[in-house]
């Protein structure tokens, strides 16, 4: 599907503020509400818009600790990635799994209620994951910016 300037204007507005009322987004994009609805429908059908989801705030849910665990895997085993990821999916505190090209192979985002809980998860569930060569941790202090915005 070809995306034209109108689509780009609509997407720019929606990415910037997905929760805003559709009528306001239409105004900002300079189109009528009907045009916006039709365009959004088409963008969804063609998969340009994959999903509209609600963001969950883990801190507000009582998970005060959020850690980004970055792994280098032992790649002498050809099944290292598959087996590591399959095992990581079984850990309930893992909220995201990402794979990379670079020094880091896989990143897990882990949430825990407090440091005691994190220590327990890290020792019992994370360090026992298969094929780990190296692991380092980045503990989240604050999220300064978090958007899906694109310079369209």
């Amino acid at each position: 599907m070809q995306v034209d300037d109108t689509d780009r204007r609509i997407l720019r507005q929606m990415l910037a503020e997905p929760s805003a009322p559709r009528s306001l987004l239409a105004d900002r994009a300079g189109v009528t509400a009907a045009t916006l609805a039709r365009r959004v429908e088409r963008l969804r059908e063609t998969g340009m818009i994959r999903n509209v989801r609600a963001a969950i705030d883990w801190r507000a849910l009582g998970f005060e600790v959020e850690v980004s665990l970055r792994f280098t895997l032992d790649k002498t085993n050809p099944r290292a990635f598959d087996e590591f990821i399959a095992a990581a999916r079984e850990v309930p505190e893992v909220v995201a799994i990402e794979t990379f090209l670079g020094r880091v192979d896989v990143r897990l985002n882990v949430v825990a209620r407090d440091m005691g809980h994190y220590q327990e998860v890290y020792r019992a569930r994370i360090l026992s994951l298969p094929h780990i060569a190296e692991v380092d941790a980045l503990m989240l202090i604050a999220t300064i910016k978090d958007s899906e915005g694109l310079p369209l």
Binding site: P18, I56, S68, A96
Partner: protein, 156 residues
């Protein structure tokens, strides 16, 4: 809005799972799925919004199809701790349109950034012109995102 922990029952958790997949479900649709009236479903959503658990909607797009084929995570270390102002760095980095996520972290880096670019050449441009010129920038490590998967985590 006061953030705090509230008790959630199985229905609340189910509704959170449903909304984290389809954020624009109406109270009527949620009610039908969970055997509640529309007002009862709305009240539960409202309560979770007020507790700060459901913050806002996120639009997920096909970045590659829209011309942004490359997503890179950068680990950034500031040059001279204590002497550079975190505020100056944060203000400048947030203003870069290609930077989607900025997180202050504790560990071998000071910040984690998610950067989008059209292709590797475009990423190089962003890196040289925008990132490397940030105030107080020290060391940078780049990892190119290949796949990403969100999990329900403790809600699953």
């Amino acid at each position: 809005m006061i953030k705090g922990v509230i008790d959630l029952d199985d229905t609340d958790r189910g509704m959170l799972r449903a909304l984290s997949l389809e954020g624009d479900l109406t109270a009527g649709e949620l009610g039908r799925r969970f055997g509640l009236s529309q007002p009862a479903a709305w009240r539960r959503v409202k309560r979770m919004e007020e507790a700060g658990i459901l913050s806002n909607l996120r639009l997920e797009v096909d970045r590659a199809a829209l011309g942004f084929g490359v997503t890179v995570f950068l680990g950034v270390k500031l040059a001279t701790k204590g002497r550079v102002s975190l505020e100056d760095f944060e203000r400048a980095v947030q203003a870069i349109p290609e930077v989607q996520v900025v997180q202050h972290v504790l560990g071998m880096f000071d910040y984690r950034l998610r950067v989008v670019a059209r292709d590797i050449a475009d990423f190089e441009r962003v890196l040289r012109r925008r990132i490397m010129t940030l105030p107080g920038l020290g060391q940078v490590e780049a990892n190119v995102l290949l796949t990403e998967e969100r999990r329900m985590g403790p809600l699953g």
